[in-house]
């Protein structure tokens, strides 16, 4: 009877409209499973046996992607409980710590996955460097990778402000102050004042939406952290993966 139920489901029009192949227990359906699936078709259908060896990539790029996915999921969860308003932000985090079920778990996961992502981006870059995988024809993918590294760092930094505690406030204050030293376009930078840049119109003002870290800075960092930068990262990730497939894998794959 179970067999009948199973075949009833599997042969139904609904099931067939979703999965365009049978269960991947034979070579044909295994091939279909990979290349008819939008998420799996990032892979080729077949790889060399030697590509299964872990000691070439150590899965570093994949782990980075996985951490990014964890960050996206936990980040969306945290967004439900967070208000980007200086009067509430800190209390929201306290609520996550002491009131909301699973709040600590999600916040800890988000925090440490973020540290991990920075670390694994760097490890992945080191692996790519040591195996010469950035050389022709893959030069540009390395450039895309550096863009992703920079975006990862900025994502981490913008997220740092959101809890609105002393750590957040001063790390961002000091970091933003750096921007005021930018040559030509910063109030404190070489040739900045000479070109007419003041505390009220220079690059730091643009970054913070004010002369100090306040409500405007918080909403800017919030939008950058939750919308702009994840979108930028996603687009560049798509390019990054696409180019790996098009240029071919550097190693024994």
């Amino acid at each position: 009877m179970l067999q009948k139920l199973k075949s009833g489901i599997v042969e139904s029009q609904i099931f067939k409209s979703i999965f365009r192949h049978g269960y991947p227990d034979n070579d044909l359906d295994r091939a279909y499973a990979v290349f008819t699936n939008v998420f799996l078709h990032i892979h080729p259908v077949k790889v060399r046996r030697s590509a299964l060896r872990m000691r070439y990539t150590f899965c570093l790029g994949g782990i980075t992607l996985f951490l990014f996915i964890i960050l996206t999921l936990t980040g969306i969860w945290l967004m439900f409980y967070y208000t980007p308003y200086t009067g509430l932000a800190y209390r929201n985090i306290k609520d996550l710590q002491f009131v909301i079920f699973g709040g600590n778990l999600m916040r800890d996961l988000h925090r440490f996955a973020a540290h991990g992502m920075v670390l694994f981006v760097w490890l992945h870059m080191t692996r790519v460097f040591l195996t010469g995988a950035y050389k022709a024809p893959r030069e540009f993918n390395w450039v895309v990778g550096v863009v992703l590294l920079v975006n990862t760092l900025i994502l981490s930094w913008t997220g740092y402000l959101l809890p609105w505690d002393q750590l957040a406030y001063w790390a961002v204050t000091v970091g933003a102050k750096m921007a005021s030293y930018t040559p030509f376009i910063g109030q404190n930078g070489p040739w900045g004042p000479q070109l007419g840049f003041l505390p009220t119109n220079d690059i730091m003002f643009m970054l913070l939406g004010g002369t100090v870290v306040g409500q405007n800075a918080l909403i800017r960092f919030y939008v950058l952290h939750c919308v702009v930068l994840p979108l930028v990262v996603t687009v560049f990730l798509a390019v990054h993966f696409w180019r790996i497939r098009k240029d071919g894998f550097s190693g024994p794959l």
Binding site: G22, N26, L28, D29, R30, A31, V34, H43, P44, V45, K46, V47, R48, R49, L52, M54, C59, G62, I63, F66, I70, T86, K94, Q97, N104, L105, L109, F112, A113, H115, V118, T126, T131, G132, A133, K135, A136, E139, V143, V146, L149, S156, W157, W164, D165, Q166, L167, A168, W170, A171, V174, K177, M178, A179, Y181, T182, P183, N188, P190, G248
Partner: protein, 276 residues
């Protein structure tokens, strides 16, 4: 269904082995090995990725049992924590503020690191060493990467463990609650040292540092052009000059750190606009 299949020259059959075939000009995707040496991504590779994801999740879960996301007191613009530490991945840059003015340590140098990293594939003309780990075939490239990131990590370690109140140097056994007397260390620009050594005016002292600064870049750009001619020839003039600019800047940062820590040199070059 049956009618459809008969129209195909090779009927679809799940007992057969299937793969995608691509026509390539020079090299096929799988050229060195027999096709039989390939395996299906489902389930072989996917299983590895799946296990990897599980291990990362478990690792994270274990980690957060011991360490929690920090939360200090509410942001207070009137109380500055001392010392104020940036997130660890920016501690290297924060530490560099000790050795350089903020416009360089905080803006120009990070920009140069990013640009230098992006340009590296275009400056590395050595065709060897693609697809396997090797040091012997590309010693200089590996040296560059290792040196640059050693600098990055060493400054992070210094910033994390060896800096205390007022960002002064504290050993692990120093009293971290007591302010150090900043008057114990006098920082001097290099040209004043030359003024005292050679008994010359400020103008001449600065001229010496100007010559040394420009000379450092000029001499070290020219010497390898003569000594390592094949490398220079392979790179071509512009690629070589670009590379040397980044390479000598990186070495210069390391040199400045040494000068500052060992000889208390504040600036090696003073100009009316910017100082290094």
């Amino acid at each position: 269904m049956d009618e459809k299949v008969t129209r195909e020259i090779f009927p679809r059959d799940s007992r057969k082995s299937y793969g995608l075939v691509e026509l390539m000009k020079k090299s096929a995707p799988i050229i060195r090995k027999e096709p039989e040496d390939t395996v299906n991504v489902w389930p072989n590779l996917l299983m590895i990725e799946f296990i990897c994801a599980i291990l990362v999740t478990v690792g994270l879960m274990v980690l957060i049992q011991f360490e929690h996301a920090p939360l200090r007191s509410l942001a207070d613009p009137s109380t500055t924590p001392n010392p104020m530490r940036a997130p660890w991945y920016f501690l290297g840059l924060q530490e560099l503020l000790v050795y350089f003015d903020p416009w360089y340590a905080g803006v120009v140098l990070p920009g140069m690191i990013i640009l230098g990293l992006m340009l590296f594939p275009y400056l590395d003309t050595n065709p060897k060493g693609v697809g396997y780990y090797t040091y012997t075939e590309r010693k200089f490239a590996v040296f560059n990467y290792a040196f640059g990131f050693s600098l990055w990590w060493v400054t992070i370690v210094i910033g994390t463990y060896l800096r205390g109140l007022d960002w002064q140097w504290y050993w692990p056994w120093s009293n971290h609650l007591e302010h150090m007397n900043p008057a114990l260390v006098t920082l001097i620009p290099l040209h004043i040292i030359f003024m005292n050594w050679f008994h010359v005016s400020e103008g001449v002292g600065k001229l010496i540092t100007d010559i040394l600064f420009v000379g450092y870049f000029a001499v070290w750009t020219i010497i390898p052009m003569i000594v390592w001619k094949p490398m220079y020839k392979a790179m071509g003039l512009w690629r070589y000059l670009t590379f040397m600019f980044f390479f000598l800047s990186m070495m210069g940062v390391a040199l400045k750190i040494v000068f500052r820590l060992l000889f208390n040199i504040k600036y090696v070059l003073v100009t009316p606009w910017i100082n290094f």
